[in-house]
Symmetry: C2
Subunit: 637 residues, 2 copies
């Protein structure tokens, strides 16, 4: 029946995309489940999640301020969408399964807490009290808990699995830190040494712990050592030993522990995925099988064809025939269970059909296209020398870009280069079949064409607005420059060794996006907390000559490295600044200056926020990222 | 014959210690070879290599200045020893093998070049010209090329094997750096922005390349971004993209490539070692075998016993019997080839004989030792609570150490803690058999006892010199403090998880020493070159109030971050300073300030020295080190 086919198709496509949902098999639930997995509803869901997350841009402290009722209204809309989605999901799967799944509980809790927070905040604001939108930290958790966040959940799982082991290494590391700090206090505290700004050196135990923690991140090397080193060569031994043990040994051990765990659990996860996939395919087979007495059950070709058409409507007949020939290797018109189970993997293999179609010009005017000069041209373009000549042109172009563009010769040369690049694309289109040239996998052809045409358009616009004596739009010129420089990247493709590395990077690209989401979740939470703690404590002024605007507008910063280094724009005054500041903290360098700055304008314990961020992001997540790149590189390179 | 046994013993011990020397098998050569491998001659060789290396302390620029003739005389003595050693080696192995081995050629070249250099330098000095002792960079190469430097050569081989792949990734990375620099020049160069000290921002292409290279090492983040970021939020995108690609992606790829190579070549090396070991054992077998017609050759027990006695004279009879029972598993009194070949590995296995000897007090006065109170005491000490009580004492001690030692109560409490620790050791010695307590593998017992007794001695000395009103020797007090804090480390041993991690670290310790040698070689070469380039350009004065002593004694440093941060002691004025400076450069932070300082007092191109050091040490060697720790940790943890 139609319903059987729908059910089997769902099993196959769940297996194909590694969905692990135990939906109800009643016809109505199956129909709802199909709608639940439709790409339109998934795109809509992500759109509303992003909308919800991006509300932080408009909420206080805002980049673009909107009234509270506006953001609240949008947030209510988002919550409504999430509620519809979870209700939809509840109708698809059995009730007991629904309430056992922590994902669903999480989403419901997030929705409810957000509503509670909105009501409290609205009431406080209406009565002019100070309110905190604390539920904003919950928003990114939606990304993790929606059905589609499988990859992200897997990344979080690998972190959770590594945590116990990381924790013990971390404890040992903290012990070492405390011991070294105590030694530093005893050895250096009573010597009356001073730091470069005249403050006492290593006299306060808590400050020593912070300073030595910062030294593990290398951010205050060698400054923290200099007063002791200036006093005696011997103290350098203390610091070198400290760095050796806590920076080189412990940080390598962190990576080793994380990588070890990652590899171990990756194997386990892959094994489970394969098992679940097989299980689903067996169910699909059970739905469609013809039971013959005394013989193994089979699926016939007609049913199989209809199934594949349902699962992937866009697959060509030729491709389907090919898949069938793999499943039915005895040519009986039947496929057994073992062969049927492979279908999900077979559908995931991309078959590139290399049809050598004739060039359209060949069909339009064969005599011209086949003439001797035309064939010579084709040979020339396909020759290695053609690539080398264009690589040289790119190099000359690079030199010209480096020179001063005010010189009219240089400025006009741009037109010549543009013409040369356009000529190259046209020549290639003359020689190669255009549909093959612009096929899905020809990354560099697309890259080239888009960059050159954009550069052409931008250059034309730019020169039309640079009438003599008029104002040149800075933005357009910037775009022209960027496009010009991007054009040079193409040279990478002509060196085989580079191509291998780049292709490896492109292949692991999609998985890196999962880490992008992971970082987004963590950054968002820290940004929300950071904004509540530190908003408007540090201000950035374009012109700081006014005395009230000195020291980032906060006199508490007077004399701190934060103000001296002009870090005023590194603040938590809106979500964009916060994210940029968190990137800087991830890079680690000067994070102690940033954290000391925020501690100076609030309280010493504010440093804990920054230490906590360092532990979570740099020690845990970046190490997981490195472990992931290491593993991915071994598989792909 | 005796000579056969000597030959077989050499094969076995070569197999045991993975020596790979194709020595002459004539009796005289075998005798010489035995002497060549004797531990005394090996220790002497390393002593003279260290002596040769340590000459840098006394040569200009010196820590302790000695006249030229003195250092030259010592160096000649060292060269003489090396010559004797190489001549000895030449007599051991066949002539054609000797001249084909690059190690020997290297050593001869080093000796000859050093002599030439010494003559030239002596002549120049005698005629009062300026001379450079350039052959000093060759000294550390001796460590690599002596026969005993196997592990070090293996480390260098793994670097050499990784180089081609690192090179291509590095080229791609340089390409990315150049492209980004060009973009930065075009986007930011014409905007008239200034850095914090008022100098133009991003206007010189070469400086941009250096600045962005430094940004990859994160050392100038976020300072290098601030002027652009202050101008517009959009420029932050440029820098974040740059850091993402060049710091996170490329640096992970470097590690991945190095680790990939390391793992691959490690497997290959291990395979070769196993093959060579087998080969040598087969030869030993061939020397000792009894040929019986029509049957497999064997070695009888008497010969085998004599061989083992020759190879390891200190092995006990019981242990030898055990080994024989493994080799002769049929109890025929004979061992075949297959069983014989295992001998080298069997000898390497450490057998810990756990003899449960009675306590000496048990034999001396059994009635007392077996009495009820004595047995209760034994039970108490062996109880878990005993460990917990002492862990608590250590914690209390830690708090007391942290408090002010000027307080007489705190000062006197030290005696109480010392007494408690001594009591613990005495109690344990009462309960456990002393020889078992101080066995080779009881690291923590040794650690404890040594620390406590040293602390006792130091505290007694310290209090005997701190008579009221007299001067307290700072050095003794420092030692007392260090010992007191070290005592606290013991707590680590009572937590099982920590013990596992520490034991893993202790096991990979010896291999880390190979990396120590590697670093020593590279540091020494860079220190020698650095001293020639930068000696006495930057000076450190205890008191810089005198205007001629400002800016590290070099007016060219006026206004540089180097002078402002008081980095004067980070210089190349002697080998100790140089090594400490190179450690700071390895830690990376602020290396651009250091390199810019040295560029300011010499020439802009001096930065190349520092960039080169960064590439060699941080990108190549530290990554090899991390790869090594990762691999070692997986095997051991
Ligand atoms: Na740094």
């Amino acid at each position: 029946t139609k319903e059987d086919f729908d059910l089997a198709a769902i099993y196959v496509s769940d297996a194909q995309y590694n969905r692990n949902i135990y939906f109800d098999t009643s016809p109505e639930a199956v129909r709802l489940y199909l709608r639940y997995n439709h790409w339109v509803s998934q795109v809509l869901l992500y759109f509303f999640i992003l909308l919800d997350l991006s509300l932080a841009v408009f909420e206080d402290p805002a980049v673009f301020s909107l009234p509270i009722w506006a953001t609240m209204l949008v947030e209510l809309l988002c919550l409504l969408v999430f509620t519809i989605r979870i209700v939809h999901y509840a109708k698809v799967i059995p009730r007991d399964k629904f309430w056992k799944d922590p994902k669903n509980i999480c989403i419901i809790v997030i929705i409810v807490l957000t509503l509670v927070d909105m009501i409290i905040y609205g009431a406080l604001k209406a009565t002019n009290y100070y309110g905190v939108r604390w539920s904003r930290v919950l928003r990114p958790l939606l990304l993790v808990n929606v059905t589609e966040g499988r990859q992200l959940r897997r990344a979080f799982r690998s972190i959770r699995n590594a945590l116990p082991q990381i924790f013990y290494v971390f404890l040992l590391f903290m012990f070492s830190l405390l011991i070294f700090s105590l030694m530093a206090l005893k050895l250096l505290g009573k010597r009356g040494l001073t730091t470069i700004d005249g403050s006492p050196y290593f006299t306060n135990y808590l400050e020593i712990i912070f300073d030595l923690y910062v030294l593990v991140t290398t951010a205050n090397s060698p400054d923290i050592m200099m007063p002791a080193y200036n006093a005696s060569y011997y103290f350098a031994i203390f610091f070198i030993l400290y760095i050796l043990i806590n920076n080189y040994i412990f940080m390598s051990v962190f990576l080793a522990v994380v990588y070890n765990n990652y590899k171990y659990h990756l194997k386990e996860e892959v094994r489970q995925l394969v098992r679940a996939k097989r299980h689903k395919m067996v169910r699909a087979f059970a739905v469609l099988q013809d039971q013959r007495e005394g013989r193994e059950p089979v699926v016939n070709q007609a049913n199989w064809n209809q199934l594949v058409r349902l699962v992937q409507p866009d697959v060509s007949n030729a491709h389907r025939e090919l898949l069938w020939s793999v499943c039915d290797n005895n040519n009986h018109g039947l496929t057994g269970k073992v062969a049927f189970v492979q279908l999900a993997d077979l559908l995931n293999i991309e078959v590139i059909t290399l049809k050598s179609r004739p060039h359209p010009l060949q069909s339009l005017c064969p005599s011209l296209y086949q003439s001797a000069p035309s064939r010579l041209l084709c040979k020339l373009v396909q020759h290695r020398a053609f690539v080398i000549v264009y690589d040289l042109i790119i190099l000359v172009n690079a030199v010209f870009i480096g020179l001063d563009e005010k010189n009219p010769l240089i400025a006009n040369s741009e037109w010549a280069f543009l013409a040369l690049y356009l000529l190259e694309i046209l020549l290639k289109l003359y020689v190669f079949e255009p549909r093959a040239f612009f096929s899905k996998h020809s990354f560099w052809n697309w890259f080239d064409t888009i960059i050159v045409i954009s550069a052409l358009i931008a250059t034309i616009i730019n020169s039309s607005v640079t009438l003599p004596g008029t104002y040149t739009s800075r933005q357009i010129l910037d775009i022209v420059f960027i496009l010009r420089v991007l054009r040079l990247i193409r040279v990478v493709d002509s060196i085989k060794r580079f191509r291998t590395i780049i292709n490896t990077l492109i292949r692991i690209g999609p998985a890196i996006l999962t880490f992008g989401q992971l970082i987004l979740v963590v950054y968002y939470v820290f940004a929300m907390v950071g904004m509540e703690l530190f908003k408007h404590k540090v201000k950035f002024y374009e012109d700081s000559s006014d005395p009230t605007k000195a020291y980032c507008g906060n006199v508490l910063l007077k004399g701190t490295a934060f103000a001296q280094l002009n870090y005023c724009k590194n603040n938590f005054n809106n979500v964009v600044s916060s994210f940029i500041l968190l990137v800087e903290l991830t890079v680690v360098n000067q994070w102690h200056v940033l954290s000391s700055g925020f501690a100076a304008v609030t309280h010493g314990s504010a440093k804990l926020f920054f230490v906590f961020f360092h532990i979570i992001v740099v020690i845990v997540i970046i190490n997981i990222f490195v472990a992931f790149v290491l593993e991915a590189f071994f598989v792909e390179y």
